[in-house]
Symmetry: D2
Amino acid sequence: MVRINVGCDLAYEVRSPTVFLFQIVAASNSYQKVILEELKLNPQLNVERFQIGMAGNQLQRVVVDPCDFQVSYRGTVELTPQTQNSNSIGESPISQTPAEVLTYLNPSRYCESDLLSRFAFEEFGQLYPGYSRVQAICNWVFEQLDYTPGSTISTTTAADVLLQRTGVCRDYAHLAIALCRGLGIPARYVAGYALNLQPPDFHGFMEAFLDGQWYLFDPTRLTSTLGLVRIGTGRDAADVSVATITGNSLLTQQSVWATLASKNNDPPDDGTGSSAVSTA
Amino acid sequence: MVRINVGCDLAYEVRSPTVFLFQIVAASNSYQKVILEELKLNPQLNVERFQIGMAGNQLQRVVVDPCDFQVSYRGTVELTPQTQNSNSIGESPISQTPAEVLTYLNPSRYCESDLLSRFAFEEFGQLYPGYSRVQAICNWVFEQLDYTPGSTISTTTAADVLLQRTGVCRDYAHLAIALCRGLGIPARYVAGYALNLQPPDFHGFMEAFLDGQWYLFDPTRLTSTLGLVRIGTGRDAADVSVATITGNSLLTQQSVWATLASKNNDPPDDGTGSSAVSTA
Amino acid sequence: MVRINVGCDLAYEVRSPTVFLFQIVAASNSYQKVILEELKLNPQLNVERFQIGMAGNQLQRVVVDPCDFQVSYRGTVELTPQTQNSNSIGESPISQTPAEVLTYLNPSRYCESDLLSRFAFEEFGQLYPGYSRVQAICNWVFEQLDYTPGSTISTTTAADVLLQRTGVCRDYAHLAIALCRGLGIPARYVAGYALNLQPPDFHGFMEAFLDGQWYLFDPTRLTSTLGLVRIGTGRDAADVSVATITGNSLLTQQSVWATLASKNNDPPDDGTGSSAVSTA
Amino acid sequence: MVRINVGCDLAYEVRSPTVFLFQIVAASNSYQKVILEELKLNPQLNVERFQIGMAGNQLQRVVVDPCDFQVSYRGTVELTPQTQNSNSIGESPISQTPAEVLTYLNPSRYCESDLLSRFAFEEFGQLYPGYSRVQAICNWVFEQLDYTPGSTISTTTAADVLLQRTGVCRDYAHLAIALCRGLGIPARYVAGYALNLQPPDFHGFMEAFLDGQWYLFDPTRLTSTLGLVRIGTGRDAADVSVATITGNSLLTQQSVWATLASKNNDPPDDGTGSSAVSTA
C-alpha cells in the first residue's frame, strides 16, 4: 500500500464568459482510494460535479465570468496494487470480453488501430499472448521513440508518431494502445498524476485488459507504474483533457505534483519488473 | 405513428472457429418500440445478448465452429416521431449539456472534429444556432458530395471525404457529424434500417443533440428521416459494425429490408421539411 | 520598369563540417535582370555555383568547417513587367502545353493536386478559363485562410491547409498551386524577395502557366506582384529552400530586405488589378 | 549484353476529344540502346514526340476524336549492364553530388522522405554506406511488405505503405525511394518493362545514385534487375504515367510483354547477388 499526495494549481485569465470542464480529480475505485481531497475555486463559484462512463471519470463544470480565476486540487490517494506474477497473466479471448470493454477494441481519433493492425501483427503477432506481449509492445515503443517535448501537437496520432519516431507521454501511450487494439487486446488511455515525475506535469499512460482486469503500463518509463494515480480513462487523450474550455480564457499558470505521503510505507519500485499492476 | 417491418438475412462460410458480434437488432427506446421480433440462427447456437452504452445498442455474441452459418432477424418497429416545429429548436449550451452527451463533442476515428473545427466555423459559424443550422450542414454535405459507391474504404475519414467530395452514407454522416462537433454541437452516428432504401442495405445516418434531445438527420436524402429505424448509435461507424468477426469467415449472402407494415397509418413524408424527428 | 535592391545576411554557428546549398541569389531571365550583385562569405571559402532546372535557379554549394559563418547577398534587379490586359489571357490547352511545362501539372509533396482535383472542379470548374480563374482561386485562398505565423510546420501540405484554414505564405501558395493543377492549369512555386514585405523575410508565391507564359500570383496579398523578385522556382517549397544544410549547424541570425532602388521610376501598384505580370 | 523484345498493345474507347500523353517507349541512353522500334496508331494520327528532363524520358502526345483507338509499341533493346563488384560502390557525398541529381533528394508526392527521415536513420543509419545499404533497404521493404494487388490506390504514398504493409510494385519502389532520400541518398522512380514478369504488366522499380552513377534496384524481387528495361524516370510514379488522359476515354484492353530476343546471349541471372547494375 502506498499513499500519494497529488494536486494542481491552475490559473486562468478569463476574458469572456467561459465554461470550464475539468478532469483533475483523482478517481476512486477498487484499485485506488481517495482518502482526503479538496477542490478550491477562487472566486468561489458553483461547481457541478458529475461522473461519465463506467471507469469513474469525474468532471467539474464551472461557468466563469471575466476575472482572474484559480482552481486548486489537493488529494491523498491510497494505492493498493494487486500485484501478481506477470508471467501468469494471459489475454482475454474476445468471446469472454465483457460488453463494456469491447469499445476499447475500436479505433479512436488518436489510436488508428485499423490502420496499424497489420503492422502490429507483423511485429508482435508471433509473441506469446499475455502481459508479456503488452510489455513487449511498450518496450518497443520506448526503444523506437525519442521523448521530445514540442515534437507533436494536439492533433498528432499514433500513426504519425510511428512514422516520425518522436513524441511525448500521450503519444507513447497512443501508439502502444493502437498496437494493442490492432492485435485484439483492449486498451485505453489514462490521464493521471505520476509520483515524482520530472519535470512535474500531468501524465498520460495506458491500461490493457488482460485476464479480466485492466493493467497499467507506461511506455515512457518516466516513472514506476506503482506510482501512477488515475484521474480518468478514455479511448484516447480526446476523452480526458485536463480542461475543456469553451470561451475566451487563457491558462496563465499551472503547477502539478505527486509526492509520497507517508514514509513508513514500502517505496514503490520499478514496474517494469515481474509484478503487474492492475485495476480491479 | 408508423409501423415498419425490418430485417436481414446473413449467410457466412465459417472456415475456422469464429466469434461474431452482431449489431442488427432494432433498438428499443422512448422513440421507437419493437413490438415483435425474432432472431434465428442456423445451426442453432447459444447467443449471448448484451447492451452497451446508454443509447440501447444491443449486441449478440456467438461462437461458431466451421460450417455454413445463417443469421436471420425480423422485427416490427413502431415509430412515434415527436415532431415539432423545427424552427423552435435551439442548440444546447455546453453549460447545460448532460454529462453522458459530452463524449459526442469529442473527435473520433472517422470524425476529426478537431481538424475541421475552423472549417466548420468559417462555413457555418454565422448561421443562427439550432436545428436549422444542423440542417444547413446536412444540406451542404448533400450538395458538396457525390454519392459514389466504391469511392471510399473502411478507413476513410470525414477529412478525407471533405477533400475528395465523394462517399457513401457512412461518409456523409461522418462529415456532417464532424462539422457539428466542430461547432460545439454534440453529434453521433446511427446505424439502422431505412424504409424503402434503394438498393436495400443497412443504412448510416446521424443524430444531433439540440434543446435537450437527439434529433435525426440523414445528409444523403436517400430516405425520409421519418422512416429511419435505429439499430445502434456510437461515436462513428467504428462503434456500430453490423458484424465484427474474429476468425476466418466469409460473408456469402446478405439481404436487408425495411417496409411499411400497415397501410392505415399516415405515410411518412419528407423529413427535410419543417418537422423535426427526435429521440427522447 | 522598376529597380529593386534585394539582399540578405545569414549567420550560422557551424558545429561540425557542413555542406550548405544556398538559394538566395536572384534569378536572371527575360523578365527580371540582375544588374548588379555580390555574394560574400566570411570566412572566404570556395563556392561552387550551378544552375538547376530550366527556370534559372542558381545554387551555391559551400563546405564549411566549424566556425562562425556569414553569408551576405546584395543584388539590384530590374523588373520589366510585360503587363497586359488580364482579361485577354486564356489557359493553354494540354495539347499545346510545352513539354518542359507538363511536369507542373503533376502532384508534388506539398501540392496534392490528385487529392484536390475534384474539390477544384466543384469550386472553380464553372468559371471562365484564363487569368481570371487563377485570380479567383487566389482570392478564394486569401479569403478562406487566416495568415497565422506558427500555425503550420515544414511538412504541412495543401490538403492540410485546406482543412485547417490557416497558414503562412508558402501554405497559401501551395494551396493555390494544388487547386490550379487540379483544374489542369500548370502552376509552380516561386521563392523570392518581396518589395517592402512586412515583417521583412523571404517570400513564397506562385506562377501559373497561361497562354504560353508564366504569370505571377500572390494569394497572400502581402505585397504587389509588381514588386516580386524571383530567386527560384520549383514544384513546391521542397525544391527552393533558402538553405539546405547537411551537418550540424545553427542559423543564428537572418535579415532580408527588398527596397525600391530609384525614385524616378513608376512605383509598383496593386497587382490584383487588371494588369497581369508574366515571366517570358 | 542482353537483347530484350518489349512492347505493349493498348486499346481505348474514346468518347470525347481526348489528349493522350504516352510514356511507353523505351529510353535510349548509355546503358540501354534501342536497336529497333515501332510505334503504331490506329487510326493513324499525328503524334508529337518530345523528351522531358535529363533522363531521356520520351513522351508521345496525340489528340484523338471519338473512335476506337489502338496504340502499339514494339522495341528491341540492348542492355549493357556495367556490372561491378557491389561491395566497392559507396555513396556520393552531398558535396560532390551533381546539380541535376540534387532534386532526387527532395521529398515528392508519393515519397515523403521528410516524414520518414528519422525512421530511415533509426532503421538503417548504422549500416555501412554504399550499395549494400540500399540493398538492405530493398531487402527490408521486401520482407516487411506483402505483395497484394488491389491493396493500394493511385494516391497511396510511401508513408501509407509503411503503415499498412501491403502494396504493389510502385508502392515497394516508393517506400524504398523515400527511405533512401531520408538517409541522404538520391533515389528516383523508374517505369519500365521487366523480362518475363508474371503476370505481364508494366513495372515500377527504382534507381539510387551511388559513386557518381545511377544503380537499379527492384525491391519486389519479381524479376532480375538485369532484365529491367527503362521507359522513363521521375521523382515518383506521378512523373511517369503510362498514359495521361485528358478527356473522356476508357482503356478497354492492355497487353504488355518483355522477352529475351536472342538465345546466344548469357541469360540474365539474379540481380540480388554481388554484381550491381548501373546507368551511366
